[in-house]
Amino acid sequence: MRRFMGLAALAAVLACGGAHAQQVNVKIGVLSDMSSLYSDIGGPGSVAAAKLAVEDFTKSNPNVKVEIISGDHQNKPDIGSQIANQWFDVDKVDMIVDTPNSGVALAVSAITAAKNKVFLVSGAAASDLTGPKCNANTIHWTYDTWMLANGTGTALVKTGGDTWFFLTSDYAFGHALERDTAAAVEKAGGKVLGKVRHPLNTNDFSSFLLQAQSSKAKIIGLANAGGDTINSIKQGAEFGIVKGGQKFAGLLVFASDVAALGLPTAQGLTLTETWYWDMNDANRAWTKRWQTERPGKFPTMVQAGVYSAVTHYLKSVAALKASSDGKAVVAEMKKLPTDDPLFGKGTVRADGRKIHPAYLFEVKAPSESKYPGDFYKLRATIPADQAFRPLKEGNCPLVSG
């Protein structure tokens, strides 16, 4: 019976093939951290976002058939590479999206280029993805270390935070974030007094905090993410870092981290994001839809970025009427201007950098927060043309001269 059904389906496809010549089949793989420290930043919430994008797009473009699969890279580059290889070779996946953890993202980016598929990075941060390690198959969507550094770093130096000490997560992402922030701080006239590199997933930061405290730096820059950032800030409050006159700069803080810290601990923290669920009506409406799949949670910019990236990808595939040639699809994505309800109008640059504004936020005090998820107040908007690294400074081989 099953075989018969299969034959029937095949016959139907063949029959329809003539009638709808434009029928395009697309397979999208959401490769993320599904079970560990970054799974609230991307993870199942990214899958939900991708589904919403597909739902919205296929409503007006019924000729595009999209299938979504997902995988857990467990923050290990080898596992991520293995999944990517299998998806491209065996499962015939056309595009991989999300992928928090820069180590994994850099590995998957290289594989994607070798197999001529498409890789849309929303979750990973390292600006190397559009710098020395850029390629014609990868687009870096939501944010990157340069933008975070430039946003938070420059803003804090301008308001008097001119001496810095870094707590850095000891892998590709942390190093990139520390390097980019140090450059932004020095450019703005500040000074870096010291740094300490801690292993990923560290439980106790008191030793590192003590070193930061004795450095007497005005700003302690947290070049880490997720649970590491939460632990640093939580224990920093305990050790009287903020009371002692020093200030934390959360270089990569997501809405989910603020929820985990609670406003009493997180209040006053300055951070940069490119998307916040409570910014405007479009974002709030989308959040409501997203929450039917993830009740009680608030979407992060990474998850919103997945929605935006998938939407633009599908538009380009529909325009080309083909999804198999990764380079051609990415070239089309760079040619078409981007436009979606969450990030508005934007562009994709030659080096694979998606361009949109960034926002400097401050975490509200508990007394200012009116309802669940009411986390931020807007301090400044960094216009799109200043938010990201200038094209020429990235040393991306795709941008010659």
Binding site: S36, L37, D40, V196, S206, G227, E238, G262
Partner: protein
């Protein structure tokens, strides 16, 4: 101010104290493991998950009954201890006669289930929990700022560790327990209900893990994976101290906390590896661990 290897002495004293504080967590957790292994011969791999459950229980108690840190410190270990007793009655009691591997696999599987359930309902980012009002602030010791809460952690864990050691090594109840591990049949012949004693011992070991979890909630991120990050280190502590040795677990817990603390000053990148290097060396020189008796 003088310097040692280029590090100001004040910083070094601070780090020693921090190491001692972290050591008290290692000691508390490895103590529970040592009690369970020493008395039940079970390698309790769900210890990390039970530590996490302790922290989550503290959060839930605060959310649903409004009871703060101090009541939670008593209630959470009791609740989690009861789940431990259920686990022992339902599963573990059938495994005592089998190879260690079966207990290890069962408890490892349970740990994955506990963590998965917590992640499903609460997500991975973590839950907020703050330091109790009465323990906020801290003392300026001159060479470092010592938060009151950390001082309390060291004191409480020393009391609990010493109390447990005293009960097992120096009281009649402890003597029964130790006798029951040596020769259960003979102890039963004296009219002692050995299975019940074993069940309660497991419950107690689990409650110790939960107690450590509540202690950790105000200062560490309360997330489903908080236990699995710590448990591997704690196992290394138990192996270095000698499997099943209570005193070994306590002394090694504090000692390794200090060594790890110093590594964080001299070579921070290696701070999560140093304990395993020590474990490898100890196993080469003394396979039964520092305080273990050769089987």
């Amino acid at each position: 101010m003088f310097e040692i290897f280029g590090i100001p002495s004040t910083a070094l004293f601070g780090q020693l104290l921090i190491g001692l504080i972290n050591g008290s967590f290692y000691a508390l957790l490895s103590l529970g493991l040592a009690v369970i292994f020493g008395m039940l011969n079970i390698i309790n791999f769900s210890h990390g998950a039970q530590y996490m459950m302790g922290a989550f229980a503290a959060y839930l108690i605060l959310q649903y009954s409004g009871l703060g840190y101090w009541p939670a410190l008593i209630i959470a270990p009791i609740l989690v201890g009861i789940t431990g007793i259920l686990v022992e009655r339902l599963f573990l009691q059938w495994l005592y006669k089998l190879d260690h591997l079966y207990g290890l696999l069962l408890t490892f599987g349970l740990a994955l289930i506990f963590e998965g359930v917590a992640r499903n309902y609460f997500g991975s980012a973590g839950l907020p929990y703050t330091v109790p009002e009465s323990l906020r602030g801290g003392l300026n010791l001159g060479f470092m700022f010592l938060p009151n809460y950390r001082a309390w952690v060291v004191a409480a864990s020393l009391v609990v560790c010493f109390g447990t050691w005293f009960v097992i090594e120096r009281t009649r109840l402890g003597a029964y327990l130790r006798a029951a591990t040596e020769n259960p049949t003979l102890v039963r012949a004296f009219g002692i209900n050995v299975p019940r004693m074993i069940t309660l011992t497991y419950g107690f070991g689990v409650a110790l893990a939960a107690f450590a979890g509540v202690m950790a909630a105000p200062i560490y991120n309360v997330s489903p994976q908080m236990g699995s990050e710590l448990i591997i280190v704690v196992f290394a502590v138990v192996v270095i101290g000698g499997m099943g040795s209570i005193l070994g677990a306590i002394v090694t817990g504090f000692g390794l906390g200090v060594i790890e603390g110093l590594t964080k000053v001299f070579f921070p990148e290696a701070s999560n590896t140093v304990i395993f290097v020590i474990m490898a060396i100890v196993l080469l020189v003394r396979p039964a661990g520092l305080f273990g008796r050769r089987a």
